[in-house]
């Protein structure tokens, strides 16, 4: 890629932003996420991917929805952190006991079936003392849609995957209707 002034500044900003994050945030440096452990992220990624699965077009994982959730929960919705974490703990406890493995290790059919129950508050209540399963599900659903369809500047929709899928040019100004790579 050619380094014109604009790109240079953009990348400088990006690097600077990342550095700031590392030095100022006591997040989980090992996992690469701000608030999630690697284990929590694996579970959440599996949930998001079922909400928008990859097919001929990219899905939630390819769009970096997990990065969006991680970033926006940190920046804007700190109260959601507990909902995500308690929800993941409850879901995994259920999966371990009933299926003897983690949610992300289940088959797609099993994952979908569990999520449909969760959506309707139908998973066994004993695992959901600290978290409401439907609220947890709805939060994951909402953030996944936002991360997938929102502007890439918020951390998701990587490489404009959803805009491409929807056949929308970007940005929106006439004369500038193109993606960065010219596709």
């Amino acid at each position: 890629m050619q380094y014109n002034r604009r790109n240079f500044l953009k990348h400088l900003g990006f690097i600077y932003g990342s550095l700031l994050l590392y030095s100022s945030c006591n997040g989980n440096q090992k996992s690469g996420y701000r608030i999630f452990t690697k284990e929590e992220a694996s579970c959440l990624i599996a949930l998001c991917e079922q909400i928008i699965p990859a097919d001929e077009d990219p899905g939630a994982t390819d769009a970096g929805v997990i990065n969006f959730i991680d970033k926006q929960t940190t920046l804007r919705f700190p109260d959601d952190e507990a909902i995500f974490k308690n929800g993941i703990v409850a879901l995994q406890a259920f999966c371990k006991e009933k299926h003897n493995c983690l949610f992300e290790q289940l088959s797609s059919v099993e994952q979908v079936s569990i999520m449909k129950d969760m959506e309707r508050n139908k998973l066994p209540g004993e695992y959901w003392q600290k978290a409401n399963q439907a609220s947890f599900f709805n939060l994951v659903l909402r953030r996944t849609m936002q991360g997938f369809y929102g502007s890439p500047r918020h951390g998701g929709n990587k490489d404009y995957v959803s805009y491409r899928m929807m056949k929308l040019d970007y940005p929106l100004l006439i004369g500038q209707n193109r993606y960065k790579d010219g596709k």
């Binding site: 926006q72 804007r76 979908v112 659903l141 996944t144 929102g150 502007s151 918020h154 929106l172 006439i174």
Partner: protein, 553 residues
């Protein structure tokens, strides 16, 4: 150091406040225009669906600040919930110079002659405070014209139901986009009368700014090329150019100072640094929109007005109205959208009045385009909310769905209202607005009727699946308002049953005026902004003519 005394303080730089500021400043009066927000900056949230006026998932493009500006929502059983602009029911209007005129889609409706005399036409409605206006369409016609030419409207004269006009629009109408071309043919076949929506946008270069580029992000966003006309890029700059008008942004007005004799002396406000200050003036005009205007008056208590300015008869904050939007969405087996922005281009007024068994009605129009996130919520009920099926729907129907909908003329009622909460305060320590009451049951009947018409048209247009939307439930009881908020300082001739006279002057306080949607008696079956502008022109003219006599009385 005390601020320099001025002729007129205006609180709120939106549709009404901006127009008044210009009218007074060009006629030589010194004006301070207070605005709690800042000047809008396009690049701050350029085309960002998740931070727009319509969707505030990740923030709020034009203010007010989430954390500093709570309001309270009161449920029918009296339960009070503190809410922010991110919550439904907040009555969220943009808080910036220009206010809603920065972020609106710019529909430029004149109300119909019938809209000013509902009670005469339909009679008394039980459980309502329905009333005729003290002014008629003909009284407002010259001011509508002034708003259309000074602020800039594109349109034509093909709506057979519109009131008579003395002068054409300054700019030609916008061309239909694909769905409007298709649906207008259908409407014509059905004997209806489609026409291009009049818009506060430039169809040709106007007032030194370019023509609309017809991008798909319009309503909810600022315009990238400044082709959308609001008070921030028309009348407010004109006012400032005279040297008579100072715009003070970031300033929160806390109360109007009313002296022992019952005259307004100025306002107390917090400047952008949070310092409490006083500004004196010969006259005060409140234009903060129906929610904040009522709150400011109610918070301005004095010896002669212990329940708030202009509120000795308990009418301030009453009759809060907005618009229920109702209609239908249809799915087609061919591409019907071409994304030629901003979406809404065609309307019909066949169902605004004289519908059998109903009081009023509403306009129906095509809809502004939805971006992909908003579209995830646009489904017939029972559709998959997630998974492959959901994704397939996004891909299959984004260009194959069209919506026809419109605002229903709400029947005002006395208990739909703004009060001031006794305990909850904002960032500055000012008691906040509380919304309570609900809509009149007749609004539901209008919604059922209007949406059934939208269903008929979409079916006739070849939609393979159609479903109605926006019909309130039988027991739905939530406060009215929203961006089209109106009615809380009703205009009337009788001081006992209204707050301001036909010129926006508060009956009880001669040098205090209201110039926004608050003064509307009824809210029309249309977006109200052009009517708010027209009334502000009329009030401005009245103030200029009578300034000396009001000042010296």
């Amino acid at each position: 150091m005390a601020n320099k005394h001025v002729n007129v303080i205006i609180v709120g730089a939106g549709a009404g406040g901006g127009v008044i500021a210009k009218e007074l400043a060009v006629n030589g009066l010194s004006v301070i225009l207070f605005e709690r927000g800042e000047w809008p900056v396009y690049d701050k949230n350029a085309n960002d669906e998740l931070i727009s006026q319509r969707i505030q998932e990740l923030g709020n493009a034009f203010g007010p600040d989430w954390k500093r500006n709570p309001r309270v929502l009161i449920s029918p059983d009296g339960k009070r919930t503190t809410i922010t602009p991110a919550n439904g029911g907040y009555n969220h209007n943009a808080a910036c110079v220009g206010s809603g005129t920065v972020s609106y889609g710019g529909m430029a409706w004149r109300f119909m002659p019938e809209d000013f005399k509902l009670k005469s036409i339909y009679g008394h409605v039980e459980g309502s405070s329905l009333e005729d206006w003290p002014v008629t369409y003909d009284d407002l016609e010259p001011y509508y014209e002034k708003a259309e030419w000074e602020i800039g409207v594109s349109g034509d004269e093909t709506n057979p139901f519109a009131g008579p006009r003395n002068r054409p629009y300054p700019m030609p109408a916008f061309e239909y986009n694909r769905e409007a071309r298709h649906l207008s043919e259908t409407c014509k076949k059905m004997g209806l009368h489609p026409f291009p929506i009049p818009m506060l946008r430039n169809s040709i270069p106007y007032n030194g700014r370019p023509r609309c580029i017809r991008n798909r992000t319009c309503v909810g966003f600022a315009c990238p090329v400044d082709a959308k006309n609001g008070t921030q890029n028309t009348v407010i700059p004109v006012a400032m150019k005279t040297g008579n008008c100072e715009v003070k942004t970031g300033c929160m007005v806390a109360n109007i100072i009313i002296d022992e004799k019952g005259r307004a002396r100025g306002v107390e406000y917090f400047d952008s640094k949070g310092n409490g200050k006083t500004q004196t003036a010969d006259m005060v005009v409140v234009a903060g929109a129906a929610t904040e205007t009522a709150r400011l008056l109610l918070n301005s208590k004095s010896k002669l007005h212990p329940n708030g300015a202009g509120n000795n008869n308990d009418w301030v904050g009453r009759n809060l109205q907005g618009h229920v939007y109702t209609g239908a969405t249809g799915l087609f087996d061919f591409d019907i959208l071409d994304l030629t922005g901003p979406g809404a281009t065609m309307a019909i007024c066949d169902f605004n009045h004289h519908n059998p068994g109903l009081v009023g009605g509403g306009m129906l129009c095509t809809e502004f385009f939805q971006l992909p996130y908003a579209f995830t919520g646009n489904r017939p009920s029972g559709s998959a909310r997630w998974g492959k099926e959901h994704k397939d729907y996004q891909r299959k129907y984004y260009y194959r769905s069209a919506r026809l909908h419109g605002p229903v003329q709400e029947i005002p009622n006395f208990d739909s209202r703004i009060t001031v909460d006794p305990t909850v305060k904002d960032y500055w320590g000012i008691p906040v607005a509380a919304m309570s009451g609900g809509r009149h049951p007749l609004d539901r009947d209008n919604c059922i009727f209007l949406s059934s018409k939208a269903v008929e048209i979409l079916k006739e247009a070849g939609a393979v699946q159609v479903w109605p939307r926006g019909i309130p439930g039988k027991v739905s009881y939530s406060p009215s308002g929203g961006q089209h908020q109106a009615g809380t300082c009703r205009m009337g001739n009788d001081p006992k049953t209204s707050v301001v006279n036909p010129f926006g002057q508060i009956h009880e306080i001669e040098n205090l005026f209201v110039a926004d949607g608050s003064v509307l008696v009824t809210n029309g079956g249309f977006n109200p902004v052009l009517t708010i502008m027209a009334i502000a022109y009329r009030t401005g003219e009245y103030i200029v003519k009578n300034f000396n006599s009001i000042k010296s009385s």
